[in-house]
């Protein structure tokens, strides 16, 4: 067994030893509401992950186990769902997540220059969070606003017809929020 194998198995042990977090009353209320919309509570798994993420900012191992226990879904199944979807964050993210569209129309319209402008300003690449904890940059598949490319989302807001100059202002606006 190589040393990396040993390290990996240690991680597995560490993660199974994690204790579930007790879900908050708000989280439970929203999850309970979702359960009324589907005939099977397993269908609520993804929604529960998103609800927890809304309150906690991301989905920690402890939160995942908390949901797993609450909905009686095996943790491995729930982790399979959590890691499958682009918008479930299994690591901490910044206050504002930038969902940066780099699909074909945005690429043709010069999104690489926009990405460079973000990099220059915040010193972050894909998957990284700015030092002040304000921004995380994540690529996203085509955002479906191709006639106004390049586009990106910051939090819930869509920003269209981006230019490098517009990036400075957008970043400043969120920093001042």
């Amino acid at each position: 067994m190589s040393s990396s194998d040993v390290k990996m198995s240690n991680n597995v042990i560490a993660s199974t030893a994690t204790r579930p977090r007790k879900l908050s009353a708000e989280e439970i209320a929203e999850i309970e509401h979702e359960m009324t919309l589907y005939p099977d509570k397993r269908a609520v798994g993804l929604e529960a992950l998103k609800i927890v993420q809304k309150y906690q900012g991301w989905v920690s191992d402890e939160s995942l186990l908390g949901i797993s226990r609450y909905l009686d879904i095996p943790a491995s199944d729930l982790e399979g769902v959590a890691t499958f979807f682009n918008l479930v964050y299994r690591q901490p993210v910044g206050k504002n997540v930038m969902l940066f569209c780099d699909s074909v129309s945005c690429w043709i319209m010069g999104c690489e220059n926009i990405k460079q402008a973000i990099k220059d300003k915040l010193n972050i690449d894909y998957g990284e969070t700015s030092k002040d904890g304000e921004f995380t940059l994540i690529p996203v598949p085509c955002l479906g606003d191709c006639d106004r490319a390049p586009v990106m989302m910051v939090g819930p807001d869509l920003h269209r017809n981006l230019t490098p100059a517009a990036i400075d202002k957008i970043i400043l606006d969120y920093q001042n929020k």
Partner: protein, 410 residues
Amino acid sequence: MDIAAYEASDGYQSLQAIAKGLSPDDVLQQVKDSGLKGRGGAGFPTGLKWSFVPRGGDAPKQKYLVVNADEMEPGTFKDRLLMEGDPHLLIEGMIIAAYTIQASKAYIFLRGEYIVSGQRLNRAISEAAARGYLGKNILGTGFDLDIVVHTSAGRYICGEETALLNALEGKRATPRAKPPFPQVSGLWGKPTIVNNVETICNLPGIITYGVDWYHGLTKGSDHGTKLFGVSGKVKTPGCWELPLGLPIRELFEGYAGGMQDGLELRGFLPGGGSTDFMLPEHLDVLLDYDAIAKVGSRLATGTMIILDNKTCPVGMVGNLMKFFAHESCGFCTPCRDGLPWVDEIFNEFESGRGSEKDLQILHDHVDYLGPGRTFCALAPGATAPLGSGLKHFKEDFDQHIKQKCCPYKH
């Protein structure tokens, strides 16, 4: 558009026709006669799809209607427009579809990123319920329907209808084996119809104004209108509802204003990222399903992506391959392993290390990942721009090899 404005322009009139005695079989026949084909990409006849759902006393009591609102095809921006601009059109269409197959529960499977769409759809659902168009015993017909907006969390594969059903059930969104088809055994094993947003939005017009009116809309051999979009370096990119059967030139030059000054048209993908490149010589081909299929591509989503002469075709195909590699669900080997390999080779080309051997490997993958080689249509979709790109832009691939760099950047 709120419900008052929608009703003032004949909104929800189709439900009055249903309340006056139009049976589910009558509606099914009208939709079949209309010739409506699915607007999500595959172009399957909608009435035929519905007719596979079991009917009559022996049919399962619970059936489902699911609207595929997970718009994520690269370069496609039409369903967002419908849901943000005219949410009641979708709700009315859903009531018609659900009534026809007798589904008492419907889900809108919405892209998580479409936040405004979600807000407007939920408001439209409340407004419709307050008017008695949703809920129990709709307009005294004895038919019940509830609509739930389900927001997803971003994976292209959810557009594949059986992967979508798995996602809706709370599982990983890997596609299911077919048969059984969802029409017989879909969501939680019950008969289920999955239709695209735009398909459903065709229904109110067909029922309210009739099949003859609908047939009168087209300029070509396929029926109805379609949303057409143009993106890329044209003068006025946008999305327009137009009759099927117009020449592509009318969309490209008339509506999108032609190329920006100083640029020339090199080629275009006619219906999103999973379609074959077409060339300037194809501008007089008609915008309908058969005409575009005849020249080796697909109308698919009807949203064109324009390649100009100063944008690198190798880079453009490479960008699409990165997308497909990232969005492969990982379930079947050719797609999971093949697409990242293709993506890597495009990175090599981009950085000037592409070779003749690499080019051959790309050609091989058009076959390895083609129709029938993989579990679902994702990888075959990727081979459409790949295979046609290799064919039509061969000199650009060759130049990358010869000049050991991207000639468009140097």
